[in-house]
């Protein structure tokens, strides 16, 4: 076993390095990803090792995402870095109307293996244009996969699978996780897309989340345990395709469901999970089904204000407790 302490940031770096070394059809495009090493330092010095394949772009998110699509249609696997997830709005057309449709609309003639890596998330006081969590906007897009790793080994293992997937993948990183450090086993197998992970088994309530939410949930879980509430925590890891079976099985056991996400509750990812669970196992439900997440307002820059708008541990605990009963 080759282990080493590793951050989430470096896990992604290592996955990228491995990918680039394994397959010369893989390239990376994005802003400030050469000397600067990426706004969050993820690509770091990769450009030294792969000078031709790390392509620093102008500030033209729509254009270079479209260029990535064209390169992917002609045989490359392209990893695009969008500096903050908020800027993905500039590339929406390229993702929704082009990348996601290519395989289907062309009758299977071409594939479009583009992975869009992008950091989401708030709690940093960056203000609304640099703090959003926007995966919900893409849940309804057919042909797109959505991946949001919460752990270091998932960041590594899911990125490998995402890049070798033959479909466009929205790969959501989280700013607050980049510095998270754990003991990491380099022989870790790639993590297949579409399989949730049971973070901790529990009896009373099924708490489902993704990305940074898993960590919020994990802390809440510890505290709840000391109050005698035994939470089962599930990390979806891949939002699309969604591993609803794992969630359903858990809810059949606990009879309760809470969805936790950093993004907007209204119109969020939770709505899909709740609806599918309800469709599949309503008779097993034994308590209120709740969602916790962002209030339906933009994210204020003020740190104190931001804390009120984004989900926190207290609100997670409250929801879990409410889910135990009917009122």
């Amino acid at each position: 076993m080759r282990t080493q302490t590793l951050t989430y940031r470096r896990a992604i770096y290592n996955a990228l390095d491995r990918l680039l070394s394994e397959d010369e059809n893989i390239i990376i495009m994005g802003e400030d990803i050469t000397e600067y090493g990426g706004a969050f330092g993820v690509t770091s010095d990769l450009y030294r090792k792969y000078p031709k394949r790390i392509i620093s772009t102008p500030i033209s998110e729509g254009g270079f995402t479209g260029i990535a699509v064209g390169a992917a249609m002609t045989g490359f696997r392209v990893i695009v870095e969008i500096m903050f997830m908020d800027f993905i709005t500039l590339a929406t057309d390229q993702i929704v109307n082009h990348a996601a449709n290519i395989h289907y609309m062309y009758g299977g003639q071409l594939t479009c293996p583009v992975v869009i890596r992008t950091p989401a998330g708030g709690y940093r006081g960056y203000g609304v244009s640099h703090s959003q969590t926007l995966e919900a906007c893409f849940m309804s897009v057919p042909g797109l996969k959505i991946v949001a790793p919460a752990s270091v080994s998932d960041a590594y293992g899911l990125l490998l699978s995402s890049v070798y997937d033959n479909n466009p993948v929205l790969f959501i990183e989280h700013k607050l996780l980049y510095n998270m450090e754990v003991e990491f086993d380099f022989d870790t197998e790639p993590v297949p897309l579409g399989r949730a992970r049971i973070v901790r088994e529990g009896r009373d309530v099924t708490l489902v989340s993704h990305s940074y939410g898993v960590h919020l949930g994990s802390t809440a879980l510890e505290e709840l345990l000391s109050e005698g509430i035994d939470v089962e925590l599930i990390d979806l890891r891949t939002l699309k395709p969604l591993d609803i079976d794992t969630v359903v099985e858990s809810v059949r056991k606990t009879g309760r469901l809470v969805y936790l996400e950093e993004g907007n509750v209204f119109g969020g990812v939770g709505g899909e999970v709740v609806s599918q669970v309800v469709e599949r196992c309503l008779p097993y439900i034994d308590g209120r089904i709740l969602r916790v997440g962002k209030a339906d307002v933009p994210i204020p820059a003020s740190i104190s204000g931001e804390r009120e708008v984004l989900p926190d541990i207290e609100r997670v605990k409250e929801a879990v407790k409410s889910s135990l009963s009917w009122s």
């Binding site: 254009g63 479209g66 390169a71 002609t74 003639q109 790639p190």
Partner: protein, 330 residues
């Protein structure tokens, strides 16, 4: 230009014209659904440019792309099948007129999003450059599309990176009903190349020979990694799409352009070197191709069925595979 070449160009252009006329007829009889954008009047651009390039070269097109498809060598039978929504169509009937790709001939798609093809073509050119391949990308777009941000961003990157791409603007003076001079200070799209340090030139898009010879001259530059913007002045004889009463232009203007009909022009030249009988034979043979192809699609092909319609949103992926087995299309 040599006689054989001229006949070639003529045949291609006429095939496009006949195809479009058939499509038009099918629409008017309610045998085709959805929408369509005919390129009647603009055949010289598609044929002139594409006849200069190779099968290996990529072409990216627009909503008005039947001509580009045919010039690039797509099979008329499979085109009709696609337009009719048949499983045997190039895209199984899933794409239709505005989302029509023919991988065989390196045709990377017509495009329903105005300007949407410009970054895609630029990306194909990036591929070529990264692999140091001996081919180029050709990107067709309209005057209207040059107002999209995608045009600006793409030409800038192509210029900075030195990509082997030929941008071909088919300036037919209108984007739908909007005269280009109403939405641009200059009437020439070619002028916009100045912002990117890209060379550009304007050609009479109604004259196949001129388009051909101009393109030929440009191509060596493009093959050496200098992007180029070629503007062809042309005109669409029909409305923008179905049911366009064309109130935004005068019949005089239309007549003036119709006098420059690219097919009539080349026919006239051919008549000087070819007996009318031979021309007639060509015409008849093309007409047959069209009719026979349509009949095939209509009678021998099956509608896209439920199973297939619900399949294919995702490409198959063999989990995580190491380098050797990558399911990577080339």
């Amino acid at each position: 230009m040599k006689r054989e070449e001229l006949i070639q160009l003529y045949s291609k252009a006429l095939l496009i014209r006949l195809f479009e006329e058939k499509v038009d007829w099918l629409f008017s009889r309610g045998r085709l659904w959805g929408t369509t954008h005919l390129c009647i009047g603009q055949e010289a651009v598609a044929v002139g440019v594409i006849s200069c390039i190779r099968r290996a070269d990529y072409v990216v097109s627009t909503h008005r792309g039947h001509g580009h498809l045919i010039a690039k060598g797509a099979d008329i039978k499979l085109l009709f099948a696609e337009l009719l929504g048949r499983r045997e169509g190039y895209c199984m009937g899933k794409g239709g007129t505005q989302h029509l790709c023919v991988k065989d001939v390196n045709f990377l798609g017509t495009n329903g999003i105005t300007g949407g093809g410009i970054p895609i073509a630029t990306g194909a050119a990036l591929s070529i450059k990264l692999r140091d391949e001996d081919r180029i990308a050709v990107c067709f777009f309209g005057d209207g599309a040059s107002n999209q941000g995608a045009f600006h961003e793409s030409l800038n990157m192509a210029s900075v990176w030195g990509l082997p791409i030929l941008y071909v603007c088919e300036n037919n003076m209108y984007g739908m009903s909007t005269r280009f001079s109403m939405v641009s200070k200059y009437e020439d799209v070619a002028k916009r190349a100045c912002a990117y340090g890209i060379e550009s030139t304007i050609v009479d898009g109604m004259d196949i020979e001129k388009v051909y010879s101009t393109t030929e001259k440009i191509l060596s530059k493009v093959r050496n990694g200098s992007p180029f913007l070629l503007e062809a002045k042309t005109y669409r004889f029909c409305g923008h799409s179905k049911s366009d009463p064309r109130l935004y232009r005068t019949r005089d203007e239309e007549d003036e352009w119709k006098r420059k009909d690219p097919i009539a022009q080349i026919e006239k030249k051919l008549l000087e070197i070819l007996p009318e009988k031979e021309l007639h034979a060509i015409r008849e043979s093309l007409r047959n191709t069209i009719e026979e192809s349509y009949r095939y699609a209509e009678e021998e092909c099956k509608e896209l069925d439920k199973d297939e319609a619900l399949r294919g949103a995702y490409a198959y992926t063999n989990a995580y595979v190491s380098q050797g087995d990558i399911q990577c299309p080339r």
